[in-house]
Assembly symmetry: C2
Homo-oligomer: 347 residues x 2
């Protein structure tokens, strides 16, 4: 099976290197790798954040393991050349529409959350975020309005097929967990949300065993702080999912710990840590590789049909943490490589 390895910018290469060590031990030569340039690194090398050569590898691959993109040197570039376009381009170009972000506190890290331990330790949820539509991909631009003033605009929109497709992922995910799905929208203000809610309710007829609720996004942002333990699976659109999934991750402790998957309709997926490229600590051995190692485990489970191997990696991460290894984001002083070593030792 072929893995597209996309390290990207900042701490991306460092964390990918540790995930690669773990994969080599756990699945060895059952996987082959081709490396592609993405993000600022790709722009600097070949003038585009998502070169066609990378897309070509990504199309052929069975799964993509992605580090991070983002480079302050590229901040002044026009939007289509900025590093972030790599991730948006991969999601759109490969129809990766279902972003899954589990948020769960490792009991060993109860002290790392800004939430009270009793609130944080109750977190065990998955956010299912749509990533091919919404205001991200609608028509947009800056124009001069009737009064001669500059005006920025972006069209938010979803059609019923896009909503039902992601709703089904939400229901299936809930069915495989505790059977509770909360759909988050802003139907009291947005027509896009009204259609979203209508379609989610229609789809729910096929999932009588799943308990469906609806919540406005402002309330969801409150409830994720007040009582995140109430959620099992949250399904939401691209923009609200962007905000809530980062918030939920932080409630569950360090963002250095949390993996994500973005799947197409056939479970081909892109796997990445939810943290960014962290240019301020790049190259210093301070990055926490566990989110990327856990992303590799998700890859084995969702795209490659190797659930036992995924379990093995996750157990090793828990064991490494129990053994006391801590990167700076977790309040410790261990290096990126030392965290990798600890996981390898635990395997």
């Amino acid at each position: 099976m072929l893995i597209a390895l996309l390290p990207g910018d900042g701490i991306g290469p460092e964390v990918i290197a540790q995930a690669r060590r773990v994969l080599d031990v756990v699945v060895g030569d059952r996987l082959t790798y081709e490396e592609g340039l993405v993000g600022g690194a790709a722009y600097k090398a070949v003038g585009h954040p998502l070169p066609e050569a990378t897309m070509e590898i990504a199309r052929r691959a069975d799964a993509l393991l992605f580090g991070a993109v983002g480079d302050p040197d590229c901040d002044a570039l026009e939007r289509r050349l900025r590093p972030e376009q790599a991730i948006l381009g991969l999601r759109a170009g490969l129809s990766l529409f279902a972003n899954l972000r589990p948020a769960k506190l490792f009991p060993e890290l109860a002290d790392a959350s800004a939430l009270r331990p009793e609130v944080a330790s109750a977190i065990d949820l998955v956010i299912v975020r749509e990533t091919n539509g919404d205001v991200y991909f609608g028509e947009k631009g800056i124009r001069t309005n009737a009064a001669g003033r500059r005006e920025g605009y972006d069209i938010m929109c979803y059609d019923e097929d896009e909503v039902s497709r992601i709703a089904r992922v939400g229901f299936e995910t809930a069915r495989a967990r505790r059977g509770k799905l909360c759909s988050v929208d802003k139907a009291n203000v947005l027509e896009t949300s009204q259609l979203w809610r209508d379609v989610v309710i229609e789809v729910s007829a096929d999932y009588p065993d799943v308990q469906l609720s609806h919540m406005y996004v402002d309330n969801a942002a409150m409830q994720l702080v007040r009582n995140p333990g109430q959620f099992d699976v949250i399904v939401t659109g691209n923009l609200f999912g962007d905000i809530l999934s980062d918030q939920a991750s932080m409630c569950a402790g360090s963002i250095g710990m949390l993996p994500s998957a973005t799947l197409d309709a056939n479970n081909k997926g892109l796997y990445e840590p939810i943290h960014g490229s962290a240019p301020d600590i790049a190259g210093q051995g301070k990055a926490n590789p566990l989110a990327t190692i856990l992303s590799a485990a998700m890859m084995l489970r969702y795209s490659l049909g190797l659930p036992a191997e995924a379990d093995r990696i996750e157990a090793a991460v828990a064991k490494a943490l129990a053994g006391g290894v801590r990167s700076p984001d977790l309040g410790g002083t261990h290096t990126t490589a030392q965290l990798g070593d600890a996981v390898l030792a635990a395997l």
Copy 2:
């Protein structure tokens, strides 16, 4: 000076009644009141959530004191008749564009936040949210697309005048506080945000004494959990402000404590607690009236030029809390009226 008193739905009338008692003691007959119907209560009485008779009072008034709107009986109504339209209609109809939401933990309530006490007690911020534009008020609807499928759409947009107007409120607010302004947008994806960021930077030339920073909304949602003490003033658009201000409020403890103001260009304003109508506890004496009493204090300060009286109310609320009075949302068993009594006693 004339106050439009708009109790609304659910617990609205109960909390407004307590604020009225406090105002009677503090400013007595310097204020006169006219009551108007809003929300579900107005729909049930006269068929519209924001009747022209109410708008007429609101236009004449020097300030508006608002309870809450929202009534489950109205959930199935078409959007333009739903209770929430009252608040959107007042904001639009009276050009109330600057929503100010201070979030600060009363030291007495350090235990009420889901955040660790040391994180929560550092919160002392104001969110300045634009409330006349954005995806709230752009063209919107549900249409049939080229493929014959239902599609919901909402146009997000801001012009440079709308952005500079709210940016100035942000800079002025920061200047009167600790001199730090963080503008929140999603400029890596949205053109509306790109214009927003450009204009905020242009306006910053007039405020060299204010330290300006920019943050993406997903990161802001994280940072409000991780380290909310880093913020002084946040300025943002209508949609992001809706989400972040509710989140920030919850970080600062009970939403039963937090007031808000929404001002026009001449400091005429609508004052309301940030909590909703809470139909589940309406009429049971369980509502916390302190957010509304603190909203009344903001009204005296911002719209009525009575800062000493505002200080007096705020000090009385702190004293009442120090005396141990606690409504159910604060973990106690005191009634709405008992909280009002405690504030009156402290005055």
